[in-house]
Amino acid sequence: MSLKDWFANRKKRRLETALVDSRVCDDELHKLWVKCYNCNSSLISKDLDKNLLVCPNCDYHFRINARTRIEQLLDKTSFEEINAKISPADPLDFVDTENYKNRQKKAKKKTGLNDAVITGFGEIDGQKLALAVMDFEYMGGSMGSVVGEKVTRLIEAAIEKKLPILAITSSGGARMQESALSLMQMAKTSCAVAKANEEKILYMTLLTEPTFGGVTASFGTIGDIIIAEQGARIGFAGRRVIEQTIRQKLPSDFQTAEYLMKYGQVDMISHRKELKNTISNIIKIHAKSTKHQKKSKK
């Protein structure tokens, strides 16, 4: 149900998306000024890029797509994608106001992606890791069979290779067009995390703007360590659904990363600029202690 919010908020978001996307796609527009969604100040597009898409004025973290995230976080050219070709089917022949197949085509055209997640291996400060990065631009980052399958395969491959895993979420929830099949991806990915646990593979998650519904209630929040990106909104049920249920307005900081940390649900909040360093340190400390383990087993 949490998708509801994101659909409802579409207009505002479209504007923002358009601006951000335009900078990426179009060289002409690339020179343009961008307006900060939060503080309304006008920013030079290139400066914003250099600043990791964080407003230099008010620290507002613009939502970023999967490719940009990978570029920002990993050592240069270290990323190797896997299972890129897995793409969605339409097992239920789902038609609402538009049919699912069409929605897939549009999303692919808009994002250049086959579905809402990119998975693969890469390095952070020379340390190898397995990485899954969701992309909200592809149908609201919703999780269907493809997201579930790719995340699961990634975890299985990381177990095989004994690599730490980082899952970066950005999702409105489950892919309704796949109904129960999409629901089952929650179980599938969580079972894969269970395997990683049993093999003592470090499984980290990074929750970014926005993370809701089925992703929050599955692989997103069962990290050994959960990092939330500053300002990200994270929750199970959508704001509107809750407001309808309780018939009152919610506080403005409700379901922000900061709110979640106060309520003990995330290990830490990270500024985008600190992310790489933080993750690098976490991997380093765990690698060291695991090394000790291997030694002491001998």
Partner: protein
């Protein structure tokens, strides 16, 4: 037909036929005219009509039966299928969520950990049980009981009938998402047989949080879905009135879900639905549980876990 039920829309024709039969009977008694044959024919026709009707229910009609206020609840089943049910309250952390109830019991002499979502039949009960919508603490209680069962080698049986996990401020604050996710992950690690049965509404993550099982069954007129048809309609069709279309599109019935290997079997309900005969429904439930436990008990922990893993691992349809 038991008149204490408020008839659902599609049940009304049945009521009309049965009223007609009743009239004939009264007429016969009053006037002494022999109407046996007519009554017998009409009765047969009524049964045929019902059988046909209930074999061809639309998803929306099933939805209505699954939500029928007289449908047996978890505690009704406890009463009907267990001996020595001993409820184990609380999450040991500050809350005893009444929307999820669990405890140890024997079913046909077989020790089990029996856990389920509870709905009320009256307004007062519905408030007490929060309309069967668990808080995070309910899932944590269930997890505590899962671990207990795991330690003492008890098969776990969950009976699920929920419109979903509760969407509220406190539920968000205490981690509704985390609670469900941790259950999904931890159920994967359990060493005992797990049997999940959707007895009514099996709605979204709130249902799945008790359903990472070796065997998943559905009662004939229950439904299982990622989102309620009403919720789906209001998002995708932007109109809750399109719930019927959504119910159709979402493929929410046992027969649909068996096709995708999401559900292992359908448990027969009495003609007209579980609310017409609690005992018979409970009997079917109990037999399914015991048969499944017998089948699973011969397997060792490793096999049980691996089979459970593979079961969910295979779910999903995509192109490659």
């Amino acid at each position: 037909m038991n008149k204490e039920f408020t008839p659902l829309e599609f049940e009304k024709s049945i009521y009309q036929i049965e009223d007609k039969i009743e009239e004939l009977k009264n007429l016969s008694t009053r006037t002494g005219i022999d109407l046996k044959e007519q009554i017998s024919t009409l009765t047969k026709q009524a049964i045929e009509y019902k059988e046909q009707l209930y074999a061809n229910l639309t998803p929306t009609q099933k939805l209505q039966i699954s939500r029928h206020p007289k449908r047996p609840t978890f505690l009704d089943y406890v009463e009907l299928i267990t001996e020595n049910f001993i409820e184990m309250h609380g999450d040991r952390k500050g809350t005893d969520d009444r929307a999820i109830i669990g405890g140890i019991a024997e079913i046909q002499g077989q020790p089990v950990m029996l856990i389920g979502t509870q709905k009320g039949k009256t307004t007062k009960e519905n408030i007490k049980y929060n309309f069967g919508m668990p808080q995070p603490e309910g899932y944590r209680k269930a997890l505590r009981l899962f671990y207990h069962a795991d330690k003492f080698n008890m098969p776990i049986v969950t009976l699920i009938d929920t419109p979903g996990a509760y969407p509220g401020i406190k539920a968000e604050e205490t981690g509704q998402g985390i609670a469900i996710a941790e259950n999904l992950r931890e159920m994967a690690k359990l060493n005992v047989p797990i049997i999940a049965i959707i007895t009514g509404e099996g709605c979204s993550g709130g249902a799945l949080g008790l359903a990472v099982a070796n065997k998943v069954f559905m009662l004939e007129h229950s439904y299982y879905t990622v989102i309620s048809p009403e919720g789906c309609a209001s998002i995708l069709w932007r109109s809750a009135e399109k719930a019927s279309d959504a119910a159709q599109a979402l493929k929410i019935t046992a027969k649909d879900l068996m096709k995708y290997n999401i559900v292992d079997g359908e448990i027969k309900e009495p003609l007209g639905g579980a609310h017409y005969d609690h005992k018979l429904t409970a009997k079917n439930l109990s037999d399914t549980i015991i048969k499944s436990i017998e089948e699973l008990s011969s397997k060792d922990a490793k096999t049980l876990k691996e089979e459970r893993y593979q079961k969910f691992r295979k779910m999903g349809v995509f192109c490659e």
